[in-house]
Amino acid sequence: MVDLRVTVGSLTLDNPVMPASGTFADGLAQIVPFDRLGAMVTKTITAELRGGNPTPRVAELDQAMLNSIGIPSNGVAYFVQKSLPFYRRFKSPLVVSISAPSADAFAELAARMELPGIAAIEANISCPNIEESGKAFAMNPRSTDAAVQKIRNATRLPLWVKLTPNTSEVAAVARAAENAGADALVVANTILAMSIDIETFKPRLGSIMGGLSGPAIKPIVVRMTYQCAKAVSIPVIGCGGISTAEDAVEYMMAGATAVQVGTATFLRPSAMIDVIDGLAAFCDRKGIARAADLTGLVRDAEMAVDDLEAVP
């Protein structure tokens, strides 16, 4: 019997598989037994009420999804009254994803999360920072540091920080988050992209650009997971294009302690369960006793990453 447990900071998860924020909600409980998940992660919530983006909000591309949902939100009060009680029924730890337009607002919202049934906070700092003309906090180490420090000081809950792939210095951002007190990193959010319908000449999304997710982005985010895991000593949670156990194994070998499944759940609602079962089967076949042993297993010892050649 493979031991699937993994440890993310002070939390021990029954297995390394959980949903990605924004791709999970109560409706899935009809199909997936939430008690089998390593954790539950909510759609990002904001303090205030917010509408979302204009439709069309999604487009399907080849092996990828493009979305500009935005963060439509009923606000934190609604979440606490209506959604939280629902998730409290399940034994898997609940991670609440939060977002705010400034470091202070992030801290305020985080402070409101120390509630029964909330196991950890995932700070979605891939969202725009109004103090940096809308650039995501996670685009550079400085604004990452500012936001994470303030959130860290506002809560005793385990703090996961979700990075953006839309940066040229993901490892430096990862270190900044670690130094500012993050307990774990989630790598990463969607990649900014665009698609045009050449018959109608119209962008496929109502807001022109949006975030790319799904299998197509996996090699890029596996790379970032590898870079971040090398750069920090806190756990990294891999997220991007994971739809099978093999994908999860690849992320873990690259250095991830746990993984999040996003878009795949839209295509196959039971994707997370299949990943959990497949992970156990893989470890079994390979004679790996504990899923945790997969983390960082990539055989790169005799290979020097030749930075000067990495980009052709």
Partner: protein
């Protein structure tokens, strides 16, 4: 920015719903006319328990160049718990439905459902009017049967481009529904004509409620007449879907709710909505 989410919506909660993702087997799959195919599946529960107006999210096979990524939403055209079957009537349009069209008898596919909130029938109504265009009839057919089963009379108005596009008349006829056909080809489908027809039916006292699907124009007509004549109604809406179960918020549409405009998810709060709250799309 779209409108704020509707926080007062009273749809069933997750715990009150019973969809599942099951493997279904094709038992029949035939062209109905040049554009539409009729798909009959053997499917385990809860699939055959689908109610009129609910839908399924279908995994569509890849076929040649067509590699549909998302699933495709399709209204249940018929659900038979006795036989353990569900049926769909769909128009071959793009990558997903082209892929769907390649399924052969004996093939299996994943279907997620039944999903969403279907039609509501008030048994106090003696008669209802269903008005559909195109594939809207597929969505309305089970409603007509449900009405008949509950002793509610049905007048069905079919709008279509031409006679070849008129489908399902036999199914409606079997329920005892009175059928009116209006066509683009002879001009009878013009809004003014359909309005005259509806007013006539209203005068006959046969408009206990209005139901519509498949045309913005006709929805607006029924809405206006409904408001004027004090007739309640429902409309089944479409919107692109990724998850089908309320998680992704891509399928929102705006609705008039009191003095506000609110945003609702077609997959979760609908696809059937109050006619008076719907907005033109």
């Amino acid at each position: 920015m779209e409108a704020l989410l509707d926080t007062r919506s009273h749809v069933p909660s997750a715990s009150q719903r019973t969809a599942d993702d099951v493997t279904a087997r094709v038992v029949a799959h035939q062209w109905v006319n040049a554009e539409y195919k009729h798909l009959v599946l053997d499917a385990p529960e809860p699939a055959p328990l689908a109610q009129a107006g609910q839908f399924f999210h279908l995994e569509c096979p890849q076929a040649g160049e067509d590699r549909p990524f998302f699933r495709r939403p399709m209204s249940v055209y018929k659900a038979d718990p006795g036989k353990g079957q569900v049926e769909f009537l769909y128009k071959v349009t793009g990558a997903g439905t082209r892929g769907l069209a390649t399924l052969r008898v004996g093939d299996t596919m994943r279907i997620l459902g039944p999903l969403g909130v279907g039609f509501t029938l008030d048994e106090s109504w003696k008669n209802i009017v269903v008005l559909g265009r195109g594939v809207g009839l597929a969505t309305l057919a089970p409603l007509a049967e449900m009405a008949a089963a509950n002793g509610v009379g049905v007048t069905a108005i079919f709008s279509a481009r031409g006679p070849e596009q008129v489908m399902s008349t036999e199914r409606f006829a079997k329920t005892g529904a009175r059928i009116e056909i209006v066509l683009d080809s002879d001009g009878s489908s013009a809004v003014e004509n359909v309005e005259r027809l509806l007013r006539r039916i209203a005068r006959e006292g046969k408009t206990g409620a209005f139901f519509t699907c498949g045309s913005d124009r006709l929805m607006l007509l029924m809405q206006r007449l409904g408001r004027e004549l004090g007739i309640r109604g429902e409309v089944a809406l479409e919107q692109q879907m990724a998850c089908g179960i309320g998680m992704c918020f891509c399928c929102v549409r705006n609705f008039r709710s009191g003095n506000e405009v609110v945003s609702r998810r077609v997959c979760w709060d609908g696809p059937v909505f109050r006619l008076d709250e719907a907005m033109s799309w």
